[in-house]
């Protein structure tokens, strides 16, 4: 979690990294300034020290010159006063040298030079000065020999030269450091100025970068969110970024997709409800018509019989109509009961073996007996077509398919009814030469109460026949379907053949 939050892929991580780099740059600039300042101060201190070394060297030089003068005074006149002067000079040089040594103690080279100088002066005093004083006290003439004096002057000059060397070396060192310091200060100043100029440029670049990093995706997100608010759920954000905006885009896209899905489902549900409402209202219209028509006959004829005196022949005919119409009503009620059974899933079959071919012939001849508009063509096998099933229910299916063929070919024509055994099933088919079923009605044909365009065409029916038929056929482990023909439609159904007792009854 922590590593994810601080990853350079994330916006937060990148902003922190860039800020850190900027802070480091500013820190480095300040550091340069600070270093340059320190070095300048050091250089200043060095030149002060060099001046002190120079002053101390001058002092030491004076003491050495005094040593030379005192020894010459002793040589010239070895009296008490000159000897005392020598003694004073002898003890005066060392504190001055000590001061020089402290002032010049800035490098090993300087320390070695002052130590060498101390050793040389001491040697001059002990090996040359003191012996010469004793010689002068014993024999002033011997002391005045040129050799000794020449040697003394030479050594004194050498010591003076070495003293100057210490002062010069300190001055050189100070000059060197001062040059270094001023070069560094110059570099630091240049770097500082460059940094000062670059900072606003960097700030502007940082602003642009931040804008690209944050503002652009933010703008896209706002636009997309506004589109969603306006009801457009098809907007998608680019998901290629691997930072927080990438996560946001993926979450956003998932959200719009889920919204679109929900809305589609709602619309579909609303449409399906609307359709089912329409079916229901069509059903009510249809039921009222289907029930009222036979009821009108029954009531009309019974009132006629009650109110008028009619002949015996008329009475009989009226009663036949009443009987037939009441039977029609009963069939209607039975259809509704079947539909209810279907919806509740209760469907008990009374299976027995029987000849399906004979049943088909019987039903076809019965249905078309009084029909002058249609011609019946039978295609039945000679041998029995034995199936084990519910005879009454399969009669209902055959009757339904036959009455549909008659109803939906009002122009007449041939109705072909056939049956045969094939591949373990008995197939029954009924083909008419009607107008056929328009493609848009085919899918829902077997739905309860679905009537396609039949209601508009004035063809009576409940829209239950095929739904009930399908249920019956499926309860027999069979299939029902239809094939659109060039002219009309062929309905068919398969039920398994009776396998129990050979092929016949």
């Amino acid at each position: 979690m922590l590593s994810r939050r601080l990853s350079l892929r994330s916006v937060v991580g990148r902003v922190i990294a860039v800020t850190a780099v900027g802070a480091a740059a500013i820190g480095a600039t300040l550091g340069l300034f600070f270093a340059a300042n320190t070095r300048l101060k050091e250089a200043n201190a060095d030149s002060v020290r060099a001046a002190r070394v120079s002053a101390a060297a001058f002092d030491v030089r004076g003491k050495i010159t005094e040593l030379g003068s005192a020894i010459r005074g002793v040589v010239a006149s070895p009296d008490r006063a000159s000897i005392a002067r020598w003694r004073r000079a002898e003890s005066a040089w060392e504190p001055s040298l000590e001061t020089l040594a402290r002032a010049a103690a800035t490098s090993e080279d300087q320390e070695q030079r002052t130590e060498a100088l101390r050793f040389e002066i001491r040697l001059y005093v002990t090996d040359y000065g003191d012996p010469l004083v004793r010689i002068a006290q014993l024999s002033p003439a011997a002391a005045r020999s040129s050799d000794a004096n020449t040697e003394g002057s030479r050594r004194l000059q050498q010591i003076l030269d070495h003293t100057d060397g210490v002062a010069q070396s300190a001055a050189v060192e100070a000059a060197q450091r001062s040059a270094d310091a001023s070069r560094l200060a110059h570099q630091a100043t240049v770097a500082g100025i460059v940094a000062l100029v670059l900072t606003p440029v960097l700030l502007i670049l940082l602003g642009i970068w931040l804008a690209r990093l944050v503002a652009e995706p933010l703008r896209q997100t706002v636009e997309a969110a506004s589109a969603v608010a306006a009801g457009n759920f098809d907007v998608r954000l680019p998901e290629r970024r691997r930072d927080e905006f990438g996560s946001l885009a993926r979450a956003f896209n998932a959200m719009t997709q889920s919204l679109a899905t929900s809305r589609r489902e709602l619309i579909e549900r609303a449409e399906s409800l609307e359709q089912s409402e329409r079916h229901k209202s069509e059903l009510i219209t249809m039921v009222s018509h289907e029930v009222r028509t036979p009821l009108a006959s029954v009531l009309g004829f019974t009132r006629l019989l009650l109110e008028r005196d009619v002949s015996e022949a008329e009475r009989r005919r009226y009663l036949e109509i009443v009987d037939s119409e009441a039977t029609r009503l009963a069939g209607l009620v039975s259809d509704f009961l079947d539909a209810r059974l279907i919806e509740e899933g209760q469907f008990a079959l009374r299976r027995e073996p029987f000849d399906l071919g004979a049943l088909v012939r019987e039903q076809a001849e019965l249905t078309l007996a009084h029909d002058d508009a249609h011609e019946l063509a039978l295609q039945l096998p000679d041998e029995p077509l034995s199936v084990e099933g519910d005879r009454a229910r399969l009669t209902q299916v055959v009757g339904n398919v036959l009455s549909n063929a008659v109803k939906y070919s009002p122009g007449g024509g041939t109705i072909t009814v056939g049956a045969r055994a094939s591949a373990g099933v008995a197939r029954v088919w009924v083909a008419d030469e009607g107008d056929g079923i328009p493609p848009e009605h085919r899918e829902q044909l077997f739905e309860p109460f679905y009537r396609g365009g039949a209601a508009a065409a004035g063809i009576p029916g409940t829209g239950l026949g095929l739904a009930v038929s399908r249920r019956i056929v499926e309860a027999h482990e069979g299939h029902i379907g239809f094939d659109p023909l060039e002219r009309g439609t062929r309905f068919w159904f398969d039920v398994p053949l009776y396998a129990g007792n050979g092929n016949g009854r």
Partner: protein, 127 residues
């Protein structure tokens, strides 16, 4: 033939249901001669050849509805309009209004009282 027609007025019954045509004929009785049609097209064909005194018309017919047939009939034959009684299983206020609006002279809902239908037809023919 002429004498028979003069004695017994001709009535066209247009209903797709055979039992209802039988009922209407039985109700109206022997006083009239009857022509029958199962739908609007057949009714038009009958009207091309005959000139009935009245039409008893069902609303719910296969194909064109009774109301459509009536509307077209009234537009086509403005002079000497044939009296039309509309019968319907729907029997709602809306159907009655639709029928009368289309030019029906009377509306009788199914199941109808035999006497009522007989009276309505008689009155229309007498007028």
């Amino acid at each position: 033939m002429m004498a028979a027609q003069a004695l017994r007025p001709l009535i066209l019954i247009c209903d797709d249901e055979l039992p209802l045509r039988e009922l209407i004929k039985a109700v109206l009785g022997d006083r009239y001669e009857y022509l029958e049609a199962e739908d609007a097209d057949q009714a038009d064909a009958v009207l091309d050849r005959f000139d009935p005194e009245a039409i008893v018309l069902d609303v719910m017919l296969p194909g064109r509805s009774g109301i459509e047939f009536l509307t077209e009939l009234r537009e086509r034959r403005r002079e000497r309009p044939i009296p039309v009684v509309v019968v319907s299983a729907w029997q709602s206020q809306q159907d009655a209004q639709a029928a009368l609006g289309a030019g029906a002279n009377a509306f009788v809902g199914k199941p109808f009282d035999p006497k009522e239908l007989a009276d309505v037809v008689e009155t229309l023919i007498a007028a």
